[in-house]
């Protein structure tokens, strides 16, 4: 007993000595002036934090800067958490440097092949305010997550779970967010489905929180990703016309016009509280119910709890369901799982043995002819991926599908693979005569995802629902667009670059998606709308486009209002209030 007490005392002593170590942690995404660096929160769950990225398309971006306060003047060791995103036998493309009070630190950064702390240098700092700058050296997507300044020359932990604990301690972050807000409904994800859900719920008297991890609404349709909306409006034309896009070519700057319309329309609803740049990071449950969702501001780091009787998962990746323990699918089912075969395309349509080669994400880009000749830097780190391919723009079929990469777990690697594909293909086209003035105009750094986790509902929507034009008593979503499933071109020829896909179109005619595919079968107060609705891989092929997902959002927004009215769960709407639900849907048209 005595020995045990001594042991516990020793551990406590050790822990307290750890917590007393001096240092200042600066989260890069919280920099006051971000210069040309962009905040990238896409891969928080995999690498631990939003980060700043120098997305310069080959031209170093403007410096990011911030002020730091130092308690005691002296010599300080500086570390940065960063990564070499294209490691190999070439110079790292994402190098940057740190300047403090105008003085450059000794080491260039962005050199290690995995996220971790790199030593930037030793510097004398004055007591009080000091100016810290990130200097991009290459213009090719250098990235900085955080900076640690300490008089002890010890790097913070690199292993993700240890780092998380350490960060929490350094930031004095509490388990529970200090601020809680209560709503009738919380919608997580501000793509077209999320916006439509928020609007329809608000129109039916609900106080709604719309939580979105980007500064702009619209997800894949936003001017940050620039995919045009496809599909039909179904019974929700009035709402969806507030959110949709014209049929501009994918990647067109015309996306910004529809962006303005969408922002204005969503903001016109007093009952919608918009939380932009807030990314959900966990859900809290009691039994089979979600009680709240916690979110963190993507640049300020502060946290907030959102409480409500009902939640809608419009995250695309099914995060809310995933955190809550909802059953979900990922991957391509075998052809026999739901009897979804189509011999015309056989194995590439639906494989004999299931696998994880789901439809991939696109990164759109475009070029323009500059007035003066433009020299693009050499990109040796991109040439293996480009594989000799030359192009002036990228559209929907620039999409990386492979069994080796998971759309969520390997999201950053997929995005980086697409960056290499673009830079390499552009470099190749620049070698061709007549392209001397060609310059990159725009490329997204956000993944335009097609497929991810699919949460399981009371009905699993499959290809056969479309092929047989099955109507349901709860057919709240309708579509006529072809069932459109993608596969990598290189399955037929390994010489074709791995970032190009082709599409298979099945003309199904009119098909219907039942309401029962839009709520979780095992989390009693969770709806879902968007690509994470309850379906098979092939089932997703038709309804994954944004007007269809928008219909899903609008439909569940109304259902949520009935849940509130009758104090029931989503499933009860189908079982006990279907007629009333239809009345509301038809009345709002």
């Amino acid at each position: 007993m005595h020995k045990n007490l001594l042991y516990i005392f020793s551990i406590l002593l050790l822990l307290s000595s750890c917590s007393s170590s001096e240092g200042t942690l600066i989260e890069a995404e919280s920099f006051k002036n971000k210069g040309g660096w962009v905040v990238d929160p896409q891969f928080v769950e995999q690498m631990g934090s939003p980060y700043l990225m120098a997305h310069g398309m080959g031209i170093p971006v403007d410096d990011a800067s911030t002020d730091i306060t130092i308690d005691k003047s002296g010599s300080y060791h500086v570390y940065a958490r960063t990564i070499n995103w294209a490691p190999g036998s070439w110079e790292a493309p994402g190098q940057f440097n740190i300047h403090i009070n105008g003085e450059s630190l000794s080491e260039n950064l962005g050199l290690n092949d995995n996220w971790g702390w790199e030593y930037a240098g030793l510097i004398d700092l004055k007591q009080g305010k000091n100016e810290l700058k990130l200097i991009d050296l290459k213009g090719f997507n250098g990235r900085c997550d955080a900076i640690w300044i300490s008089q002890n020359n010890v790097a913070p932990p690199s292993e993700l779970s240890e780092l998380k604990k350490w960060r929490k301690k350094i930031n004095s972050e509490k388990e529970t967010p200090a601020i809680s807000k209560s709503y009738d409904l919380v919608v997580i994800g501000g793509g077209i489905a999320g916006c439509a859900a928020a609007i329809s719920a608000a129109e039916h008297g609900m106080n709604v929180a719309l939580v979105h991890d980007r500064p702009l609404l619209g997800g894949n349709a936003s001017s940050e990703i620039r995919v045009h909306t496809l599909g039909i409006y179904g019974k929700f034309e009035r709402i969806l016309k507030k959110l949709d896009t014209k049929h501009y070519p994918n990647g067109s700057p015309d996306a910004s016009m529809d962006q303005d319309k969408r922002e204005k329309n969503v903001r016109s609803y007093d009952k919608i509280d918009l939380f932009l740049n807030w990314r959900a990071y966990t859900s809290n449950t009691k039994g089979d119910r979600i009680t709240s969702v916690d979110a963190r501001h993507t640049s300020e780091g502060k946290t907030m709890r959102f409480e409500a009787p009902h939640f809608i998962d419009c995250t695309g990746d099914g995060w809310i369901g995933y955190w809550s323990g909802a059953e979900y699918f990922y991957g391509r089912e075998s052809v026999d799982t739901y009897d979804e075969g189509w011999d015309k395309f056989g194995e590439v349509w639906s494989p004999s043995v299931g696998d994880d080669a789901v439809m991939g994400a696109s990164v759109l880009w475009r070029t323009f002819t500059n007035e003066a000749e433009y020299t693009f830097p050499e990109v040796p780190w991109a040439m293996d991926v480009a594989n000799g391919y030359a192009a002036k723009k990228g559209t929907w079929n620039w999409e990386f599908i492979t069994v080796d990469h998971h759309q969520i777990d390997d999201g950053e690697a997929i995005r980086d693979h697409m960056l290499k594909a673009i830079f390499g293909s552009f470099s190749n086209v620049k070698q061709q005569e007549g392209n001397e003035n060609l310059k990159l105009e725009w490329m997204s750094y956000l993944l335009g995802k097609r497929e991810s986790r699919r949460l399981v509902g009371d009905h699993i929507y499959t290809f056969n629902d479309a092929r047989e034009n099955r109507e349901f008593p709860d057919s709240v979503v309708v579509e006529v667009r072809e069932v459109d499933v993608h596969y990598p071109q290189n399955v037929y020829n390994d010489d074709i670059p791995d970032f190009l896909t082709d599409a298979m179109f099945y003309h199904a005619g009119r098909y219907y998606i039942p309401y029962r595919s839009l709520y979780s079968k095992d989390i009693s107060n969770l709806f879902m709308a968007g690509r994470c609705f309850s379906c098979s891989h092939i089932g997703l092929g038709g309804p994954r486009v944004m007007l269809t997902t928008g219909q899903m959002g609008a439909a569940v927004g109304i259902a949520a209002s009935l849940c509130k009215k009758h104090n029931v769960n989503p499933r009860d709407i189908y079982n006990d209030h279907l007629d009333e639900y239809w009345d509301l849907i038809l009345a709002q048209e």
Binding site: G88, D343, D404
Partner: protein, 359 residues
């Protein structure tokens, strides 16, 4: 109509447009009619409502399926500006379009009944081979841009111009013919042929097809192999893994049973094809090996040789395989891996170091 064909055995690729006595043939066509057996296979729907055509199977005198033919007589549009098309269409035994034939004195025509040129026929053949043509996502009424009209020179009429986005997917001036023929050769018939062939293929012919240079036919034969037969066809499987297209490699790697992988000799032989595999096939293979109970030395060596070329996820799978083989990492192997983790050109140095450390 069938008599219009000139038939030879087997299908022979015709590198250029064939024109003889005012007839046209293009693609891999069976010739020498007297040595083929024709048999009605099934009826299939045309593009217009109620339209039905007969698919005829072609076999050699030994009963081996050679391909399929359908004789087509069909309108292509709803007005008088388009002439009826008369031609024979061919498919291989997997259901892929393989060519067409136009009989002597006949011709496909464009707007104003202008006859197809040699270049038009070549373009048509090229377009029909594209299973993923943009036409696949278009309805007939979308072929024409209603805002752009062109005047017919022969008839007192205006007709719509081809929608610009479809310009490269059709023969210029023959949008409706291109559309109709594309849907005939790439419509429901593909899967009907595939199903018919699977039911009617002899074992002998299936075995021959395993070595076919035509990947679609090879895949069809692979799909007819049962799990129990895989062991007997190990030689053919190895050849496919070395030489075929990624789709067929991935198919067979996924299809092989657990008991097949547990056989040390099979493991070794399959792993020796690793350098010939595409990236996805490599991932599938590693995924299979990491599930086995025992890994042979030769398997381990074959994979070790490929270590520098593995992706990060594949490297992690490799370490799972190492753990099946060695409870504790052998010293010489540790040294070898450490050396690699220090190599200047190796891209995953820190990940490899961590994997060694965590072993």
């Amino acid at each position: 109509m069938r008599a219009l064909l000139i038939l030879i055995i087997p299908f022979l690729p015709l590198a250029a447009l064939g024109q003889g006595a005012n007839s046209w043939q293009l693609g891999n066509l069976p010739v020498n009619h007297s040595q083929l057996i024709e048999k009605k296979a099934f009826d299939f729907n045309g593009v217009f409502p109620g339209q039905v055509f007969e698919a005829i199977s072609l076999s050699d005198l030994n009963g081996n399926l050679i391909g399929y033919i359908a004789n087509i007589v069909s309108p292509v549009c709803d007005d008088t500006l388009c002439q009826i098309i008369e031609c024979a269409l061919f498919w291989d035994i997997s259901g892929r379009y393989s060519g067409f034939s136009i009989s002597s004195g006949k011709s496909l025509t464009k707007i104003d009944h202008i006859k197809f040129t040699s270049e038009d026929y070549q373009k048509l053949h090229f377009l029909l081979q594209d299973q993923h043509s943009v036409l696949s996502m278009k309805r007939k009424e979308e072929l024409i841009d209603p805002t752009r009209k062109i005047k017919s020179e022969k008839l007192d009429a205006l007709t719509g111009a081809t929608a610009l986005e479809l310009k490269d997917a059709v023969v210029q001036g023959a949008s409706y013919s291109s559309y109709t023929l594309w849907y005939l050769v790439n419509g429901e018939i593909n899967q009907r042929i595939n199903t018919y062939t699977k039911k009617n293929l002899s074992k002998e012919q299936r075995d021959n097809l395993l070595l076919s240079k035509k990947p679609q036919e090879q895949l069809l034969a692979l799909q007819l192999l049962t799990k129990n037969e895989h062991q007997d066809y190990i030689k053919e499987i190895l050849d496919i893994l070395k030489e075929s297209i990624p789709l067929n490699k991935q198919y067979i790697l996924k299809a092989l049973s657990e008991s097949f992988w547990e056989n040390m000799n099979n493991q070794e032989l399959i792993c020796q094809t690793f350098p010939d595999l595409d990236k996805s096939s490599k991932s599938i293979l590693l995924g299979k090996i990491k599930e086995v109970k025992k890994v042979s030395d030769k398997t381990m060596n074959a994979l070790l040789n490929e270590l520098p070329n593995l992706s990060l996820n594949q490297l992690e799978d490799f370490f799972k395989i190492l753990k099946i083989k060695y409870r504790k990492l052998p010293k010489n192997l540790t040294a070898e891996l450490r050396l690699m983790s220090e190599s200047k050109n190796y891209p995953y140095k820190s990940s490899l170091r961590k994997l060694i450390l965590d072993y």
